[in-house]
């Protein structure tokens, strides 16, 4: 009987140990993990590269790049969040198996925080990449600059883009900028107003890349996607579609 209890304890202890400790020791890890990946199996994976500057020079425009190429072809989705932001979720990315799972955008940060990219593979295991960002803060509760100037009202959804050949790999990068205030709803008396959906389609109507954005994505988003494709063959074959939380839809041929 004693031996049985001992064995049970031993098993219990090994399960506890099996849960990877958070390399960044963020106080919110257990909470955010529960919220975004529930009780699914996960592991911290340094090969999921979360690129951030060490310090947020401008807390309303922090550049963030996620590189999950190591799991290319095996990705269900990538959820990206900041542990200590008042709205943690930044975006979720659903890459088509044919795209290079590398994406970049800018976001707003409220204080120094761990930033996570959790990649769900087809086997059901989450691979979590992390990086720490130091910040003076205030990015999420600052009114958008657009709020002080009427420029955006007449240019809402206006999108400028360009395709670039990728030097290191076979492929192209689409970079685009869309005019949108991306208000979080956390600045006084300014309701939330932000782009929620971004889809990049090819000429066969396939969704190559789908993004679900949340309020922390920075004002006038600049987003880049990497695709396995030949730049010379594309010419107007891609369509970018977006919708904000007020139901405005924006489209642009790339």
């Amino acid at each position: 009987m004693v031996r049985l209890i001992f064995l049970t304890l031993l098993v219990a202890a090994s399960i506890v140990r099996a849960a990877d400790p958070d390399p960044l020791q963020s106080p919110m890890w257990d909470y955010t993990r529960e919220q975004f990946i529930g009780s699914a199996p996960y592991r911290f994976d340094e090969r999921i590269v979360v690129s951030l500057p060490a310090f947020a020079e401008n807390p309303t425009q922090v550049p963030l790049q996620i590189d999950a190429t190591v799991l290319a072809g095996d990705i269900e989705r990538i959820i990206v969040w900041a542990d200590l932001n008042p709205i943690q979720h930044i975006f979720t990315y659903f890459p088509h198996p044919d795209v290079i799972p590398k994406i970049s955008l800018r976001f707003k940060v409220q204080q120094g925080t761990a930033v996570r990219a959790a990649v769900l593979t087809q086997s059901g295991v989450w691979h979590v990449g992390s990086a720490y960002l130091d910040a003076a803060g205030g990015g999420c509760t600052t009114p958008s600059t657009g709020n002080a100037s009427p420029y955006w009202e007449s240019h809402l959804g206006e999108t400028r883009s360009r395709a670039f050949p990728l030097s290191s790999e076979e492929g192209i990068r689409f970079k685009f900028k869309v005019i949108h205030p991306m208000d979080t709803g956390l600045a006084d008396a300014i309701p939330e107003f932000y782009i929620q959906q971004v889809i990049l389609r090819n000429s066969r109507e396939e969704n190559l890349a789908r993004l679900e954005l949340s309020q922390p994505v920075a004002e006038n988003p600049v987003i880049s996607f990497d695709l396995k494709d030949d730049l010379s063959a594309r010419a107007g074959e891609y369509l970018l579609w977006m919708r904000d939380n007020n139901g405005n839809e924006f489209e642009k041929a790339l």
Partner: protein
């Protein structure tokens, strides 16, 4: 035994924590009647209390001319005391060269004296001063105690000033902060560039209107007749060496950002690129490069979109 330990620890804490914060400023006479108080070639920290800036003063025959007042009330007080140990003459003119916090938050100490600045500098200080001061409290802590924004009260419209045997010439520029005052003492051939020139310390770009504008203005500075150059940050140097280093860096940075944008690099990828070997040895080079990318890359990126 335990009580000895406790007493020992208390004494230790006492010595660690009660040491008053002091800048221990010293001035060097770099030319006749011309003194420079050189700051550390570092970024703001709790160790240096924000003393990363150069201030300077000229002891003319008819009173002292002071250029910039430092990062805090405490610095301003120490500076005023220091000047008092060198001359009995009153401080006649104070100039704030531009609106960055390390150059004017010592103003409070000199509230009883006229403080001059370019009109636009005064506006920028009124607009951003409090936020800058708040940030300084966060960055350097207790060194800032009781520091408040004290705005300059004399809009500078003079182009020249003859005082006590010194002929001073004022030039209004914009490259570094949007409004930058440069002072040439024609009598001693000393050029006080403030932050229009950084030397042996990487330059900062948070409010530059345009790197090309800055480069053009440096060319004007280079043509002036001077022997000694007092930069806003870094050591005093002879001749145009400091201007040449600045211009090289600005041209390189402008080209780096333009080429990166043409290649479609993301901001993070630009941050990760190596520095040119010529600039690796500058103090705070890596950190200031990263900050500059954050300040400026979006402009270059915008220019690339179709």
């Amino acid at each position: 035994m335990k009580s000895y330990l406790a007493v020992f620890l208390m004494l230790l804490c006492e010595s660690l924590y009660s040491a008053p914060l002091q800048y221990n400023l010293t001035a060097h006479e770099i030319a006749l009647n011309t003194w420079v108080v050189e700051g550390k070639r570092e970024d703001f920290s709790r160790a240096n209390g924000g003393n990363i800036v150069n201030t300077a003063f000229i002891v003319t025959g008819e009173g002292v001319v002071l250029l910039d007042t430092g990062p805090s009330l405490k610095y301003g007080r120490e500076l005023r005391t220091l000047i008092g140990t060198i001359t009995d003459q009153p401080i006649q003119y104070i100039f704030n060269t531009h609106h960055h916090p390390d150059h004017f938050l010592g103003n409070q100490t000199f509230h009883d004296r006229p403080i001059y600045a370019l009109p636009k500098t005064g506006k920028l200080m009124a607009e951003h001063g409090s936020a800058f001061a708040e940030n300084m409290y966060r960055l350097v802590g207790d060194w800032m105690r009781s520091t408040e924004v004290h705005l300059p009260d004399q809009p500078l419209t003079l182009e020249r000033l003859d005082l006590g045997g010194h002929r001073l010439r004022f030039m209004s520029m914009t490259g570094h902060a949007g409004a930058d005052l440069v002072v040439l003492d024609e009598t001693t051939a000393v050029l006080f560039t403030a932050d229009m020139v950084f030397y042996q310390r990487a330059l900062t770009t948070p409010h530059t209107p345009d790197l090309k504008q800055w480069i053009t203005e440096l060319a004007h500075l280079e043509k002036l007749e001077f022997k000694w150059l007092v930069p806003g940050h870094g050591p005093v140097s002879e001749g145009t060496e400091a201007i040449v280093q600045m211009r090289d860096y600005l041209i390189w940075l402008d080209k780096r950002l333009r080429q990166a944008a043409e290649q479609g690099l993301t901001m993070n990828e630009v941050i990760q690129l190596p520095l040119d070997s010529r600039f690796v040895g500058l103090a705070v080079a890596r950190k200031e490069y990263i900050r500059s990318v954050a300040h400026l890359y979006e402009r270059y990126e915008n220019a690339m979109f179709e």
